[in-house]
Symmetry: C2
Subunit: 100 residues, 2 copies
């Protein structure tokens, strides 16, 4: 018998709440939606072209997503590439990404 089924880990609920918080903002919603739909990592600049927000605001939102564990970032040269942690999100909130 799995303890988690009886008393779900606080951090699981916390992660879900952070995902919900992230998706409650129009900018972050679009970022996540776009990352999910393209199905692969995207450069910050590329994202910035599709989602119209100031680059510092974009950086702020990407930081929010990263720190919540929703995305991961890879640096190459002076560019950064953002990936959506699909598996992690699907594990806790199956089907959510598909319904955005």
């Amino acid at each position: 018998m799995n303890i988690k089924q009886l008393s779900p880990d606080v951090s699981e609920t916390e992660f879900k709440q952070q995902v919900f918080f992230a998706l409650s903002d129009p900018g972050r919603y679009k970022i996540v939606q776009m990352l999910y739909n393209v199905g692969h990592e995207m450069g910050c600049g590329e994202l910035n072209q599709h989602v119209e927000i100031d680059k510092s605001t974009m950086s702020y939102h990407l930081k929010t997503l990263r720190e919540a564990g929703i995305t991961s970032t890879r640096t190459q040269g002076r560019e950064k590439y953002v990936t959506l942690n699909v598996a992690k999100i699907e594990l806790e909130l199956p089907g959510l990404l598909a319904s955005l």
Copy 2:
């Protein structure tokens, strides 16, 4: 061919974002979770017994949920009963409630 599939209605996305916002707060998360798990309407007092928050804070959160279209309220005498709009939520975000 369904237009909605090509360009999802703004209000659909807005509703989803409101649901996400609602669920990003621990208090509201518990309220929604509880309503979903019991599977039927609950009195405000009954809710207050399970979710430990000040009655005016509870009223504030219930108003937030109500105005977002997430719950509905029925008055009987001096008590009020809250229902979760399961069908509506399931329509836009299938499976979400089950994964809370």
